[in-house]
Amino acid sequence: MGPDGAPGQAVPWRKVLWERQSFPDNYVDQRFLEELRRNEGIRQYRYWAVVKEAGFVGQQLSCVAIFITFWLYMEEGLLTPETLLWTSLLCALLGYGLHQALTSQTDSCSEPRTRLADLQSAAIFLSFTFGFSPVLKTLTESVSTDTVYAMSAVMLLAHLLSFPYSQPSPPGSLSLNAALFASVCLASRLPGALHTFAMLSCALLVFALWPCLLQRMRENAPCQFTGMCVGVCIGGVGGLGSQTLGGAVLLSLALVSVTLLCPLLLVWLQRHKDNIHGPWDEAEIHEDLSRFLH
């Protein structure tokens, strides 16, 4: 029943429901679907901007690779735990200094943490880890190696998948916990309690503190941020390459696909986008609720 089916009526058809009209119920006139809008408000992606954002994902991947490199070195015995500990301490201090330097430029933090609170946190971390490291050492003694590797791999994958790439500063619970679980599993395979302690401190640095620094850099020094990402990626590939060539190849392939291929795919597939909007959509509240927060 289209517009042709109706007889010529003196009274025009109105699009109302409450009035009994002489037209059939499913009658539509020539103004049908004139309020349909297609692809309204979609973003236009530019390739290099997307590549820059995807670089962050690649960077995180390389972080994980660097951590695994450290572990491989420790297991082979090429790296002593004392060396790792001192290096971690140095890097932590450097990072802290950089973090403070970047913060003092933007003085609009909601909650200024005092140096004392930071020291307290650091003390808690170190004492707990040191105290529990003998227990942690013997945790996976009775579990077979394959199980440990499988569990760690799954947990690291979960970490990568649930990482809050848009806002890494308050660390996402699941991602941090998964990374720490994986590091405990791997660390318990090392020969001594001090090794475990060193590995865990390294894990804390890489997974908990490094994203905070990156967030600061992203906010305040974007160009350096990009450079840092690239550096980390190269470091990851190189580190893995010194131990396992296959791993390095795999990592570089993954990096290339994530950083270069996937944005290309995203941009290229935009042409197939076909969203329709109209007055039948659900209402969205665009009100700015931040005025309630003060």
């Binding site: 808690i124 942690l136 013997t138 945790l139 003694e141 699941l174 720490l180 908990a208």
Partner: protein, 595 residues
Amino acid sequence: MVLKVFFPQCCNRADSGLLVGRWITGHDSAVVLAVIHYPFIPGQVKQYIQQMQAQSGVELTVLGSWSLPKEGQEGIESFLRDLSTIFPQERWLQIRRQMGKMGFTCEVLNRHQSGGAAQEKAKKKKNEEEEEGGGDGEEEEEKVIFVHYEQRKVMLSQIHPIDSGETDDKTAAPELKQMFQTVARSQPLFFMDKYDDGPLKSTHWQSDGREASILVELMKQASVPLCLLLSWLLNMWTWICDIRIFSLLPLRFLSSKLSTCVQLSHRTEHMRTLSSPKAAASHTLFMRKANILVSVLVDVALGVLLIWWLYRDDHIAMLANMLVPAADHVARKLEELLQWLMGAPAGLKMNRALDQVLGRFFLYHIHLWISYIHLMSPFIEGLLWYGGLSACLGLSFALSLLSDMVALFTFHIYCFYVYGARLYCLKIYGLSSLWRLFRGKKWNVLRQRVDSCSYDLDQLFIGTLLFTILLFLLPTTALYYLVFTLLRMVVVLFQGVLHLSLDFINSFPLFAVGLRITRPYRLAEGVKFRVLCEEPGSALHLLMEINPLKCSTVVQTYRTPTYSCYPRDSWAALVKKLFVGELIYPWRRKTTKAD
């Protein structure tokens, strides 16, 4: 309208006279209790009836007249009919029977009709309907049904279900219940037998002479001083128990846990019920007293039998010599079990450090326990000897003592179970909370639901460490918990069996069941009717037979209430408690409720 007349079988061949009984309120029925014979003086009859009414509390009246004419007794019918004017009633029954014939004939005279007119009308009707006969009454065409009952059985019987507290309101009570109650309460009416020299002669079930048994009378006489003695003894015992020193908290706690003390207090309550010197007021009280008495006697008899078996042939020494090696054997088996757990039990991978810690801890406990048993071993024979004497108080005491001894000897298993369960419970609780932290969620106590929560860095870090540790140590703890829970369940089951049999001895109504088997008419569930004679010339005659109560209903109705132990949780709740690690005390004690 149908009028039911309950007629006792003993009065079927009684001489002519007046019918004494009661009209059942609210129904169209009458119960005939006795027949007072001619000759009598109406004034004396009235006096006698008032006296009986005062003694028994039943509303007795003269219901009507009964005539069974023998040779040389003509003309009595008209005399009997004139009596309706002397005893003014709402309705007057005139029941007649011919010798040799089975059926009765009955006429019902109503009061509001004048006497003469009624008689003429009756005569006219009889002339008209002579061929047809029939026991019909006046213009209302009242049919009469005679229900014959055996008076002695109905008097002794109690109809169930018994409702208490409905003594005054008889208007709504059902017909059968009223009839049974009437017969049961008219006992003073049945004391006058044919050997009495009183002015009146009556016929009822006991009119051939009252029977009594010498033994029953002697026991009734002897029971009063016995009850007094018993109550004095009980007072002494309660005075001893109420001494201040026994109400200190540790002793009180201990006495509430030991089943011997509980059983003792329970029996004291029973004895208190028995020792009241006045007779039982209602049927329920009488049955309860009888049940308690019989059960106590049977209990003591079984206990004495047990003592006789225990103390001959030196059985006590044999038992004592068996006990310490048995305890040693149990301890050795436990040690072997722990050694097995400390290795790689069933191929499961345990965390070695924790395994060693837990295993050594429990081994040390067992060592302590064995030393304790060895310390006690010289005293065991004496303990058993004196403990066995307590069985003279009853088999139930011996059972409860056995249950307590089992509890004492397996105290270490109970301790291990508590340690294992607490450790496991803590672990499960910690794990569930930390798992929520792992996912970034938190338990909202106010809303009783899981909410998302943003944790600090340190909280996350420490939480993940602890979660990892607890998770990897879970299999070890779970295995220890499982093993000790199983052991504890075995002990609990055994104790449960003992307690169930104890409860059975305490509460089973032996007297009621015996009564049901030997004299089934005393506990009635209802009645059944059988047609006796349905001649066309007379009214319908039915025989009422008592339908005894089913045995299962007897047990259910007359069970003595006890502190029965029944399972506290359903199976699903039990499994859930086991899984979470809550301590399980599966048998709940119900406190006795006053009836």
